[in-house]
């Protein structure tokens, strides 16, 4: 637990000092959004209808950059092996990194939401509390397996091509649920389905935060 907080604090501090990565990721998310808008064309109905999809695809693409960069810090100059020699528990390290990644994704998401509202002319029909919850659970769902796999990729000396490929199958339930929930919040939810989607997101998170924490030790000790 203490390890987790320490690692988390370290990552937050590192990022706070320069904020360069956050700025880069926000610019990237913004660019993706604009590209989607241009690709769809001036069809305002289509943009409004699929605003949720663009939000989450932007977040997903940003996350691959984030995850890679975040884990690379740990492996530079063999830092991680020294970290583990000190009595730093591997699960503690995992949860610290994963929570830091989640927070970073929340920040990108929080800034992306108003961007999406403007670019797609979208509004919130249902309560925005649902939107906040969706963002929280979706980001966490991307961060947990992402952190595990980014550590695996970092060990393979820079095979970045594999990371999106490895994440893709895991990310489908998150994207499907998050986009559905977001779209329902933005377009109205006459049949009260948001709850079911959030429940699926919650289940996914419970399974993967648990599983990845357990497996992380094996990934970094090898």
């Amino acid at each position: 637990m203490k390890t987790t907080l320490n690692i988390l604090w370290k990552d937050v501090l590192i990022e706070w000092r320069t904020r360069s990565r956050t700025v880069a990721l926000l610019s990237f998310a913004y660019t993706i959004l604009l590209l989607f808008a241009f690709a769809i064309g001036p069809d305002s109905a289509a943009l409004r209808q699929h605003a949720g999809a663009y939000l989450w695809l932007g977040l997903l693409l940003s996350s691959t950059l984030l995850l890679d960069s975040s884990m690379r810090i740990e492996f530079e100059a063999g830092a991680i092996s020294k970290l583990l020699l000190a009595p730093v528990s591997a699960p503690g390290l995992f949860y610290g990194k994963a929570i830091a990644n989640t927070i970073q994704l929340w920040i990108i998401g929080a800034v992306s939401v108003p961007m999406v509202f403007v670019v797609c002319d979208a509004t919130v029909v249902e309560s925005s509390g649902w939107l906040a919850l969706t963002l929280a659970l979706g980001a966490a769902g991307l961060a947990a397996p992402g952190t595990l796999y980014s550590a695996m990729i970092a060990r393979l000396s820079g095979k970045q091509l594999l990371l999106p490929l490895m994440l893709f199958p895991l990310v489908v339930p998150v994207i499907v649920s998050a986009v559905k929930a977001t779209s329902l919040v933005m377009m109205g939810d006459p049949m009260n389905q948001i709850g079911s989607w959030l429940a699926l997101l919650l289940c996914f998170n419970l399974v993967y935060w648990g599983l990845c924490g357990v497996l992380f030790g094996r990934v970094v000790e090898a």
């Binding site: 695996m152 594999l162 895991l170 489908v172 699926l200 497996l215 990934v219 090898a222």
Partner: protein, 231 residues
């Protein structure tokens, strides 16, 4: 080629499958709704059952590999993921070809077909990892982890796609099978199972041999002859 038990099992499976497919194609009646197209059943359903079972074997082997660190388990991960991928790819093609005459389109976001497509990537990644990593122990660990996660993911993906789909439009697929069709179906399933077992075990032997050779220490040089004592 050594004649081990799996050759016999595989051949037996082959015979069963040939009988079952012959019967299914030419003897069994056409399906009530799908007509002759329904005969695809005898190829598609066994592939699905055995494919999923093979992935289950891969999952168990991956857990065993991480637990024990033994090469035998690691070899089983590779063998079963490989055969599982073969069946998975076949399943995808069969499903798509079945969809065209029955639903009118080759692809339709049906939960099962979609999950199938995603599984190919998830388990393909396991093999890709195995090709990339040269250090044997690291290869064992990483590919086992990827296998465990891929397998755990299957029900979650299936559920999420199913909900996603049924909220749009309900889809129908044949759930009950006519009694005249049960026998060739069952025989085909066993045939496929035995054939796949033959494949997996055979492949396991090959991989196991390779892994053992990889980690074996090189032969020691011959002992030097004792120094001759100068007289």
């Amino acid at each position: 080629m050594k004649a081990n038990w799996e050759i016999g099992v595989g051949l037996f499976g082959l015979i069963l499958l040939i009988w079952a497919h012959y019967t299914g194609l030419f003897v069994a009646p056409p399906e009530a709704m799908m007509g002759d197209v329904g005969r695809i059943l005898y190829a598609h359903v066994p592939t699905a059952w055995v494919g999923l079972s093979t992935y289950l074997v891969a999952f168990i082997a991956a857990v065993g590999a991480i637990w024990s660190g033994k090469w035998a388990w690691d070899a089983m991960v590779e063998a079963s993921v490989e055969v599982g991928l073969l069946l998975n790819a076949l399943l995808l093609i069969q499903g798509s070809l079945w969809a065209k005459p029955t639903w009118g389109v080759y692809w339709t976001w049906d939960p099962r077909l979609t999950t199938c497509a995603i599984m190919v990537v998830a388990f393909g990644v396991v093999l890709a990892l195995r090709r990339q990593i040269e250090e044997p122990m690291r290869r064992l660990t990483m590919s086992s982890i990827a296998t465990i996660i891929a397998f755990v993911n299957v029900p979650i993906v299936y559920l999420s796609v199913k909900w996603w789909r049924t909220l749009h439009q309900p889809y129908s697929s044949p759930e009950t099978v006519d009694s005249a069709m049960v026998t060739p179906l069952r025989v085909a399933a066993f045939g496929m199972l035995f054939l796949a077992t033959g494949f997996v075990v055979r492949r396991w032997r090959q991989v196991h041999r390779q892994l053992k050779a990889e980690v074996q220490a090189p032969d020691l040089p011959d002992a030097p002859s004792p120094l001759a004592v100068e007289d």
